[in-house]
């Protein structure tokens, strides 16, 4: 047993949590550069998503017009999936 494992065992015996895995630490750091103090939450994004997608599907640069939405989409995988799915619908289904 190495020192790290001994420390973990000691922490566990005291009821303390195991330390954060390395990939959690690095994953967290990866998104920090994008983080702004002012930000929209998922409900606010959902409320504006149809408008944003129409803007993007048209000739406008939606990210420039609504940068806070773009920032949220860059950080939130689930909202981004919904954005991409809706954009696909508007670009493909609406044209046929």
């Amino acid at each position: 047993m190495n020192i790290k494992e001994l420390i973990q065992k000691f922490r566990a015996s005291l009821g303390m949590q195991k330390e954060l895995p390395n990939e959690a630490v690095l994953g967290f750091l990866r998104v920090l550069e994008e983080v702004r103090a002012e930000e929209l939450d998922c409900d606010e994004i959902y409320a504006k998503l149809d408008e944003y997608v129409e803007c993007q599907a048209g000739t406008h640069d939606a990210a420039q017009l609504m940068p806070l939405i773009r920032e949220h989409l860059d950080l939130c995988p689930e909202c981004c999936e919904e954005y991409e799915a809706l954009l696909n619908v508007i670009e493909e289904a609406e044209e046929k």
Partner: protein, 212 residues
Amino acid sequence: MPTRTNENWLSDLRATGAARESALEDLRAVIQKGLPYALSRWLSPDQPQFNSLVEEVTQETLLRVLDQLDTFEGRSQFTTWVHKIAVRIALTELRRKRWRDSSLDELTENEDVPPPPGLLADSQAGPETSAERADMLERVRRIIEEELTDRQREALILLGVKDIPMEDAAHKLKTNRNALYKLLHDARVRLKSRLSMEDIAPHEVLSLFETK
């Protein structure tokens, strides 16, 4: 199918009798035309579960649209707003099914996360780089431990390590996706500020791990 303006859609769906029935039928067709494109990344029309999912999502979307008709503000085409609702319902259902089928048992039974390969024990990195990586990681980890609440920490592990969809992580934490996003956002802002105070730039830490 007649071309309707937003106002036509709203008035027909609020009407009674044939006008409403016809609008509902048309809306059903609009939703079903869009869903294959919404689902294309996950499911193709020749997969066995495709038709039942489309039917289930269409029904639920029609109900929700009628229920939320008064909340439509006219900032987009009515049909885009309807597609948005269908996308949310479809993806939520897909994520739930995907996660339930794949790893819920694993999640509840095995809380231990396997060590990530190659982060510190990189055979090509020299001893100095390895030591530097270990030191930096330990420093950042300590800061995270100090700054984050237990709940933020738990959310970070669920989403960042176990790669659980937000909806499912929210369910596990007995909250909702929006609150979970806020929880993480607060954690990120807090951590960013603390790292800045300690003069640590996230991209510099990451560069230690991304270059050999």
